[in-house]
């Protein structure tokens, strides 16, 4: 992965035909085409452009979106992706339901703490030892799943008290999770742009060797990024638990892949150093709009997944082509 970045072909006079100021950006063109296609297909689909459907799109993007914001921070900091997200969210949901009798605030705090600890531990191995994040998180996901089955006995967890009903409220007609997602996006964007730690993450993702040479606390920055990610996953777990009112080992579903898809479709570079929380929000909403459209047109979940994969592939190629072109 690192070698692929450095061995470019010698610079060419490739864009002589293009105006000096503005160059056709493959990513922007692609996104515009996709959005236009969605709009056209939406006009042709009954009930797509309605207030109720807009609400449904926002609501369905909220859970994935919250996790994806955390995944954005980690990807910007150069740790690629985590494939242990589904399992972590499941465990967080179980912790949340098991701690209901202590009251909602305590349950939320304990759940967030569990998510942060589980995820930051993986971040520590990745940050301090530069372990391969993909393989490590695959292993971690398996371990978390195994421990969860071990402790829960493989059964569904039901809460003794339901203190969480407040989380299922829909102020102004939108689920609470949507507001949390928007607030989280703004916070993450501010953190990434303004806070020292956030700017460190861009530097670390852009060039780990330079960051290390500049004396950046690489391990610590990575752990902070993963801790934020863990808190976001735990938040998703809380909303999943509150919505389903019970949790079993398959609650997390395809959250890992959905979150990665949202981040990548938002145009954040997998290699790190580029991207933003706002773009991820856009990616999450775009994916749920497309899924919603396919659903209204009667396509199966398999087709939705297929389209999602192809979209991710296209955006990844476009982002990559853009970054190599700007280097020339």
């Amino acid at each position: 992965m690192t070698t692929a970045k450095s061995d470019r072909r010698p610079p060419m006079a490739a864009t002589r035909w293009a105006p000096a100021r503005w160059r056709a950006d493959p990513l922007d063109i692609g996104i515009v085409v996709v959005v236009l296609a969605v709009i056209v297909a939406g006009i042709l689909t009954t009930r797509f452009f309605s207030l109720a459907n807009a609400r449904a799109i926002l609501a369905s993007s909220a859970w994935v979106g919250i996790t994806a914001i955390g995944a954005t921070v980690v990807m910007i900091a150069g740790s690629a992706v985590s494939l242990a997200v589904s399992q972590t969210a499941t465990v967080a949901a179980m912790v949340f339901l098991e701690t209901q009798q202590f009251g909602l605030p305590v349950a939320i705090i304990l759940t967030l703490a569990s998510g942060v600890v589980i995820t930051a531990l993986q971040g520590a191995v990745i940050g301090f030892w530069t372990a391969n994040p993909i393989v490590l998180t695959i292993a971690a996901g398996f371990a978390i799943d195994g421990v969860a089955i071990w402790i829960s006995g493989g059964t569904t967890v039901y809460p003794q008290v339901t203190a969480f009903n407040a989380l299922n409220g829909t102020p102004l007609g939108l689920p609470l999770a949507v507001y949390v997602l928007i607030a989280l996006t703004v916070l993450a964007e501010l953190f990434l742009r303004r806070a020292t730690a956030g700017r460190h993450m861009y530097l670390l993702g852009e060039n780990p060797a330079a960051a290390r040479a500049a004396g950046l606390p690489v391990g610590r920055v990575t752990v902070v990024a993963w801790a934020i990610f863990g808190a976001c996953i735990a938040l998703t777990g809380i909303f999943l638990a509150a919505f389903n009112t019970s949790a079993n080992s398959s609650l997390g579903g395809t959250l890992s892949l959905d979150a990665i898809a949202a981040v990548l479709v938002g145009g954040t570079a997998i290699g790190g150093g580029k991207g933003s929380a706002l773009r991820t929000l856009g990616g999450a909403v775009l994916i749920s709009a497309i899924s919603d459209l396919l659903l209204l047109r009667g396509f199966s979940t398999g087709i939705q997944l297929l389209v999602k994969g192809i979209l991710v592939l296209m955006v990844v190629v476009a982002v990559h082509v853009r970054s190599t072109r700007s280097r020339r």
Partner: protein, 340 residues
């Protein structure tokens, strides 16, 4: 001798793992009090067949410094195509599955080589898409394979301890070993994994090698999926990450490094066989599923942590510091030791 082995982890690790697992396997009668039979050996080879082809495919891409995450997707798709297309003619299903796998692999390899995109993200996107395609082909449900004659034929023992899938797996490893050992391809692939830029400068056709490797991994994964959907008489649209975990453990135990540039087919075979033996030991001693899961996760986690370059750097730093302090202490000793 030992020192020479220790400096070659691609030989040392698989040999040690295989010996340890063989001893543990031979000791299982001490735990459950039942003597080992030829059926246990047959089952071990069945286990090898289950993960061997995936291990070989994934391992080949890892030697070249890439990581083909999509093998599980191709595995699922291969199984589904074989069951769909091979209800009347198993050979037709097998050919269709393998052709699809090869095409997917070649397309990915072309994209990765031509645009020089990290293979991980390309194969991740392909994995999502393939999962969707497989699920769309089956409506998200398991599809049963009704050709019982083929199912019975494929699992009948050959020479007591082998079966068609396990022999096919061994044959694939033999072919890979011959190609890797007998031609310059092996060295070229390792060079491409070790230092991509230097090997391009040295005139190695890295792009061609990458396309070849990804085609191989796609083919092997689809073949594996097809054989096993025949064997189980069903195709599962979403096998999850379990097959990937087992084959990743097999690769790393087989002496391949995640950084690339290290490993050979014989090591991969030893790694896959070690994992198969471990699986058989699990089955004989009847360990609960979640503990098996935990065991593999721990194994993979530990290997990844040990394989991490940062850990080695840290250890080197510690060793250097210890050496400096020892030298300094020696310099300060008053009893006339030589100054360094």
């Amino acid at each position: 001798m030992i020192r020479r082995l220790a400096s070659r982890p691609e030989v040392l690790v698989p040999v040690v793992a295989l010996v340890v697992m063989l001893i543990a396997f031979l000791c299982t009668p001490l735990i459950n009090g039942r003597a080992l039979t030829s059926f246990d050996v047959y089952n071990t080879f069945q286990g090898l067949a289950q993960l061997g082809l995936l291990t070989l495919g994934l391992g080949l891409t890892m030697i070249a410094g890439e990581f083909d995450l999509s093998v599980v997707g191709t595995y699922a798709l291969g199984g589904m195509i074989a069951v769909r297309a091979g209800q009347s003619s198993p050979v037709l299903g097998l050919v269709a599955a393998v052709a699809a796998g090869a095409a997917i692999g070649a397309a990915q390899g072309g994209l990765i080589a031509r645009l020089r995109i990290p293979s991980l993200v390309v194969t991740l996107a392909t994995y999502i898409a393939l999962l969707g395609l497989t699920s769309a082909m089956s409506g998200g449900l398991d599809v049963t394979y009704n050709n019982t004659a083929a199912t019975l034929w494929i699992d009948q023992p050959v020479a007591v301890i082998f079966s068609v899938p396990s022999l096919a797996t061994l044959a694939a490893f033999a072919v890979a070993a011959v190609i890797f050992g007998g031609t310059k391809i092996g060295r070229e692939v390792r060079a491409a994994g070790g230092d991509r830029r230097a090997s391009r400068v040295a005139g190695i056709r890295v792009d061609r090698a990458l396309v070849g490797l990804f085609t191989a991994s796609g083919t092997l994964a689809a073949l594996s999926g097809a054989l096993f959907s025949y064997s189980y008489a069903t195709a599962n649209p979403n096998p999850g990450f379990q097959p990937l975990i087992l084959s990743a453990v097999g690769c790393l135990v087989g002496g391949v490094s995640l950084a690339g540039g290290r490993g050979r087919p014989a090591g991969l075979l030893a790694g896959a066989l070690s994992v198969a033996l471990l699986g058989q030991i699990d089955a004989i001693t009847a360990i609960p599923d979640y503990l098996t899961e935990l065991l593999y996760a721990a194994l993979l986690g530990v290997i990844v942590a040990i394989d991490a370059p940062g850990l080695r750097r840290g250890l080197d730093r510690l060793r250097a510091r210890a050496l400096t302090t020892r030298l300094q202490n020696r310099r300060h000793t008053p009893d006339g030791e030589p100054h360094l």
